[in-house]
Subunit: 217 residues, 2 copies
C-alpha cells in the first residue's frame, strides 16, 4: 500500500519545454490556438487511470528556468513571423535540485511550457513587450517505464475549446520526439536555452558530445 501511494505521488515526470516549443506545436507553428485559463492553487499531478497526464495546477510554483519571445525554428519560419508570444518554462523543484547537483535529470522529471501573449503598451510601459493572456500549455516527462525508447514523453493540454485537464502522450511520430532527441544539449532537454542550468551542465560536463551549438534544423 505504501508503495502504491508512493508510486502515485512520484508519477508526474515530464520534460523539456523549450524543447516542446521546438516540436509539435512551435515547429508546427500552431500559434493560433488560444485558450482561456486560470492558475489553480491546489497541488497534485499524476496520470489518470487511463494513462493521461494530469495538467498540474501548481506549476507556477515550480522552478522557472527560462523564457523566450517569438522563438522560431527551421529555415522557413523566421520570415513568416506572426505576433510574437512569450514562452515560460517551469520544472519540478526536485528535478531542478537534482540537476544542480548532478547536471542530469532524474526519472520522473516534469517540465511545463506555457505560452502567453506578448502585450505592448500596458500601463506605464511604452516600449517592448509584457506578458499577458495564457494561450497554450504543453509538458514533457522523463519516465523510463512509460517511454522506454529514450525515456521522454510529450504532451499538449491544448484544444480548440481551451486547455484540457489531462492529456494522452503525443504520438511517437510527433516532431517533439525527434527534435528533442536530435537538437538538445543535455539529455532530451533544451538546456542550451536555460542560462543558469546551461552553466551547471558545462561545469559538470553533462552536455551531450553530439550537441553542436551551430547546428540548425
Amino acid at each position: 500500500m505504501r508503495w502504491v501511494k508512493r508510486k502515485h505521488r512520484e508519477t508526474i515526470p515530464v520534460k523539456t519545454v523549450l524543447g516542446i516549443a521546438s516540436c509539435a506545436f512551435a515547429a508546427a507553428f500552431a500559434w493560433s490556438l488560444s485558450a482561456a485559463a486560470q492558475t489553480p492553487a491546489a497541488e497534485s499531478l499524476s496520470y489518470s487511470a487511463s494513462g493521461e497526464l494530469i495538467r498540474p495546477p501548481d506549476y507556477r510554483e515550480w522552478v522557472y528556468v527560462t523564457s523566450g519571445l517569438g522563438m522560431t525554428y527551421g529555415p522557413a519560419q523566421a520570415a513568416a513571423e506572426p505576433a510574437p508570444l512569450f514562452d515560460n518554462v517551469f520544472v519540478k523543484p526536485e528535478a531542478y535540485r537534482e540537476f544542480l547537483r548532478s547536471g542530469t535529470w532524474p526519472d520522473k522529471t516534469m517540465f511545463l511550457l506555457e505560452v502567453r501573449d506578448a502585450d505592448t503598451n500596458v500601463s506605464i510601459n511604452n516600449g517592448g513587450r509584457t506578458q499577458g493572456r495564457l494561450v497554450r500549455m504543453e509538458a514533457s516527462v522523463k519516465d523510463r517505464q512509460r517511454f522506454p525508447d529514450d525515456g521522454w514523453g510529450y504532451f499538449s493540454f491544448d484544444s480548440p475549446q481551451g486547455l484540457v485537464d489531462q492529456a494522452a502522450p503525443l504520438p511517437a511520430t510527433a516532431t517533439c520526439y525527434s527534435c528533442h532527441k536530435t537538437n538538445t544539449a543535455v539529455d532530451n532537454t533544451f538546456v542550451q536555452f536555460y542560462p543558469t542550468l546551461f552553466d551547471v551542465a558545462k561545469r559538470l560536463g553533462t552536455i551531450k558530445p553530439t550537441y553542436d551549438p551551430a547546428k540548425k534544423p
Copy 2:
C-alpha cells in the same frame, strides 16, 4: 533567543521588481551596466549587521511572476531603444502564497528582479529572442519597520565591477520610490505586469482605487 532567530530568518523582504525596472535603473535607463554573475545554490538571505540587504543566493527557486522584453517607460524612451533585455521577476514563496490567499503582500515580502541579455540565433532558434547572460539584479522589500514611509525599500546589487553581495537601500530620492507609489496596481507593486497575480487581485478586489491602466508617466 528563539525570537531573535525567527526574526533573522524572516528578515528578507523586498519588493516590486518590474516596478524596479521602472524606477532607478530602468527609468534612468542604465542599460549599460554589465555584470558577470553566477547563480549560487545555498539558501539564506537577510540584512547585514550594518543594515545592508544580502543578495539572495536562491532566488531562482523563488516563485516566478513574469518577464518582460525591452520594457521602457516615459515619453522619451521608446525612441531611444538600445538592445532589448529580458527582465525576470521572482518573489519569495511565502509572500506569493499569501498573495494568492488575500491579494495582498505581507510584511517581509521580497522581490528580486534579474535582467538578462536577449540573445538571437542561439542553437536551433532562428527568430525571436532567448535569455542569456545576467546583466543586472535589483530587489525590493516590504518592511514596515525599516521603511516606515510606505513600507517598501529598494535595492540594487549592481556595480561597475559586477554584482555586489549586499546593498544598502537606495536613497529615498531614487525614482523607484515615487514611481512605485504612483504607478502600481496593488500596494507598491506592479501587479499589472504579473498576469496570474493580476487576476487574483481583480478577483479579491485589492487593486488600488487610484490605479489607472491608461496612465503614462
